[in-house]
Amino acid sequence: MELRDFTINSLRQRIKAREIKATDVCHASLERAEKLTDLNAFITLTPDRALKQAAEIDLAADAGRPLPPLAGAVIAIKDNMVIRGVRTTAGSKILFNYKPPYTATVVERLEAAGAVIIGKTNCDEFAMGSSNENSAYGPVKNPWDRERVPGGSSGGSAVAVSTGIALAALGSDTGGSIRQPASLTGVVGFKPTYGRVSRYGLIAFGSSLDQIGPFANSVEDAALVLSIIAGRDPIDSTSSDAPVDDYLGAAKGDVRGLRVGVPRQYYGTGLDEEVRASVESAIKKLEDLGATVVDISLPNTEYAVPVYYLIATAEASSNLARFDGVRYGFRAEEADTLKSMYSRTRDQGFGAEVKRRIMLGTYALSAGYYDAYYGKAQRVRSLIERDFRNAFEMCDVIATPTSPTPAFRLGEKTDDPLEMYLSDIYTITANLAGVPGVSLPCGFTSNGLPIGLQLIGRRFDETTLVRAASNIEQAIDLDTKPPVEGL
């Protein structure tokens, strides 16, 4: 059995017709995960739990009961979302043994919709990274070229979907952590509007930027999963009560008359030529389908990286203060005072990039520096938001490359944090402005690496993104199965 041959809905139909058993699907998925352990996509697999969920679906199918929308769909969860009783590490040594006593809202919603949760995927430590090399559990490898990174921070989720271990996966996106790995592994990755999906149970990195979203091998599947996890959650005060639209239905609409904005700032120096060509040709496809292309400007884009690295790190420095060795997780042994317990625990428990960001964020919030750094960053952030509001007066969707380059080599950028930070240059603006964005495969480089197109929409206008993405997907019709044995 090959998961990549199914969409979530086609699998559900087959299970309903009792042609396929959910437990067999689950077994197949677990076997594939075993076979591909060298990719290191998972930190923890949850076979018992998954098989139990699958068996319940089979029971319902056998009894002829109606099946929920995600019935039997094998889904992987990034290891920074908590599941009761299942080890949750956030890719960090400091949580190496942490078993949370409660479950994230998104996971509860998926399970209520019949999903089979297969395990927890590898990621950059506390979602801080663009290559998945910052995981305390080792880097994830790109199935298109194992010498290359899958992107980050949700690299494990992207790879689990790309290799057909899971039909869909959840990631979190603070500055591009869903879209960039989706781009580098040839899958669809959707970052919803800030507030669209509950963050309850997501281990926070940058609270005002973090948003959970789906990975899938088709726009349709991503839209379906999004429709399940979206919507107001009373226990997340930042979740919105804006109505959840029919995302699945939106995939069927056409793009005639759609105004596609192309911001010149996203096509400048640093953009790989092959990526540019592929993205431009995808935009051309939209035009062929009846959309109109307009040049737009997002003038404050050049400040996005510094603004992002001030705000995200400031919030992170506070969010990560709770990992102090007092109540759970790793605690350094040899401390003899409270202060030394804190510093040793955090020194040994956190990796280099996390410590760098905590220090950066602590500095940005310090007395005497707050106004110059954090305060100013917030003011520029509102200018970036305004850029998008202005742009959406002239267009309905913005089209850009997701990442300036295709997947880079493992170790290529680890010594140069600034170079690494530029991997997110096209994705972080959507987080700063709180608008939704999706990355979908739009082509390959000459040496066979996937290229992603990013579409950015208005706040809470996920339907337009789904519609545009779905049209491009059908028009390009790529084979996105990576060169992995058995696919």
Binding site: S207, T238, D324, L365
Partner: protein, 496 residues
């Protein structure tokens, strides 16, 4: 020495709000439960958990703010106050910083210095300004003593983590320790009246920190301020301030410089000790809490709260003086708590004798309550019952002396005044004929005392009155007895 200096004190009060559940989760705020039993992912600060503001906290804070004449901001912002401590599970406290819940308030209250024996010298009205009242969450509690291996281990109880607090910051308007004391006392009453805080400093639901400085009298610029912590009772607060003022004056007099620092009051030694200097002070790195939207309070809600405000203690004290002709001291005591004031006014109505009601409550009932450790709200003698008793004195059914005994019996048994009086053998005997008859017998059986009285020892009148009361079982009307026995002692003498 004191006269050369002016004292400047500012106070920060943390008042625990009386909500059923915590500020950002639905855990109970109950005190004294098994450690860490009232906790959940939110108040344990577990990764991924998020806060949701309890609206009851907003309602109570609005009551407190209006009671202190503060202006409530239509939009206020929660901020994170970052510091590491084992009883602070998130590594930050959700508080308010830049835009607090309310600002710019005041109270106008009586205050007085006290003499050596602690009695007020002269009450004067004074206005104290309040800088702000903001909302925040409490931290947990570290337990260092009385636990297993407490020499090498510390324990943390997070039941208190997330209990709502209102922090009330005054302007530096207090010029003596007694002004500060009177202010905190008033604040406690105001918070109790509005039913938002139990106001018990000893139990920690009202906590006080103070900033103290001194400057040469007449100077414009305040001296370097010292922060005092651990002021866990009204008495400690006043004594710690006194100690600190003396310490600062002595230091300045001997040519030392006051350093900006935090000092801890130690009750055992009656001294303050340095805890940390300015250099070691925390940088709390406040920034807006991204997990909570701005707190919006509508004009309608403020109006609704305004409508439901009770009469405040100072207003009520003044009205009691006015309406019932009470002395300022009695009125102050009777308005100490809202239940006391309610009890008094109900008794005043039921007795139709407000003056007497005040005396009976303050002299007799309060003593019984104190002896049995009972709050007035649970008094076995209710306001109606006490009122009925006072009426019986006023219509001469019973004497004041009988009433004192009756009240003790009513307090013990919970019975009505009628029941108790009838058990005592009935009401007061005022019938002159009956009393005359009784007097004849008393005089007849004490011929020696009669002889002495008549030979000029008039102090023996008391003896005869006592015998009369004894013979009547305490029921004879003392006024009639006095008149009749005197008349008979003297009258019979003339006859002979």
């Amino acid at each position: 020495m004191r006269d050369k200096y002016e004292v400047v004190i500012g106070l920060e009060i943390h008042a625990q709000l009386k909500t059923e559940s915590k500020i950002f989760c639905s855990c109970s705020t109950r005190f004294g439960d098994e450690p860490n039993s009232n906790t959940c992912p939110v108040c344990l600060g577990l990764p991924g958990a998020l806060p949701v503001l309890n609206r009851a906290v907003v309602e109570m804070s609005a009551h407190a703010a209006l009671a202190l004449n503060l202006t409530i901001n239509q939009e206020s912002i929660f901020s994170r106050k970052n510091y590491f401590y084992p009883d602070l599970p998130k590594g930050y406290q959700i508080s308010q910083y830049d835009r607090p819940f309310s600002e710019r308030g005041w109270v106008e209250i009586p205050t007085s210095e006290r003499n050596e024996s602690g009695h007020a010298i002269e009450w004067k009205m004074k206005r104290f300004r309040i800088h702000r009242l903001h909302i925040e969450e409490d931290a947990g509690k570290s337990l260092h003593e009385g636990m297993r291996e407490s020499a090498s281990k510390s324990y943390v109880d997070l039941n208190r983590s997330g209990v709502p607090l209102a922090e009330i910051v005054s302007e530096p308007d207090f010029r003596s320790s007694w002004e500060a004391y009177d202010y905190v006392q008033y604040l406690r009453r105001a918070l109790q009246y509005t039913d938002v805080c139990d106001g018990n400093m000893e139990e920690g639901n009202l906590r006080c920190d103070a900033n103290v400085s001194i400057m040469p009298r007449g100077a414009e610029k305040f001296g370097t301020k010292v922060e005092l912590k651990n002021l866990n009772s009204f008495r400690f607060l006043q004594r710690a301030l006194e100690y600190e003022i003396d310490r600062q004056i002595a230091a300045v007099e001997s040519g030392e410089r006051i350093i900006q620092e935090t000092r801890l009051w130690n009750e055992r030694d009656s001294k303050t000790y340095s805890m940390r200097s300015k250099e070691e002070a925390h940088d709390y790195r406040y920034f807006p809490e991204p997990d909570l939207p701005p707190l919006v309070v509508s004009e309608t809600m403020i109006e609704h709260v305004r409508q439901s405000m009770p009469e405040l203690p100072e207003a009520r004290r003044r009205r009691l003086i006015e309406q019932y002709s009470l002395s300022p001291d009695d009125a102050a005591q009777l308005t100490d708590t809202r239940t006391m004031a309610d009890f008094y006014e109900a008794t005043a109505r039921a007795s139709a004798n407000p003056k007497s009601a005040a005396n009976w409550i303050l002299n007799e009932l309060v003593r019984e309550l104190k002896n049995t450790g009972t709050d007035i709200s649970a008094s076995p003698v209710g306001a109606e019952s006490l009122g009925a008793m006072i009426r019986k004195i006023d219509d001469q059914t019973i004497s004041g002396k009988m009433a004192k005994d009756a009240l003790i019996e009513m307090y013990k048994s919970g019975k009505s005044v009628d029941e108790v009086v009838s058990e005592m053998g009935g009401g007061q005997v005022s019938d002159e004929g009956a009393i005359r008859e009784m007097a004849r017998q008393v005089i007849a059986s004490n011929p020696r005392q009669l002889e002495q009285y008549r030979s000029g020892k008039s102090t023996l009148l008391g003896f005869f009155v006592g015998q009369m009361m004894k013979a009547s079982g305490g029921r004879a009307n003392p006024q009639v007895v006095n008149r009749v026995i005197k008349e008979m002692l003297e009258g019979e003498g003339q006859q002979n």
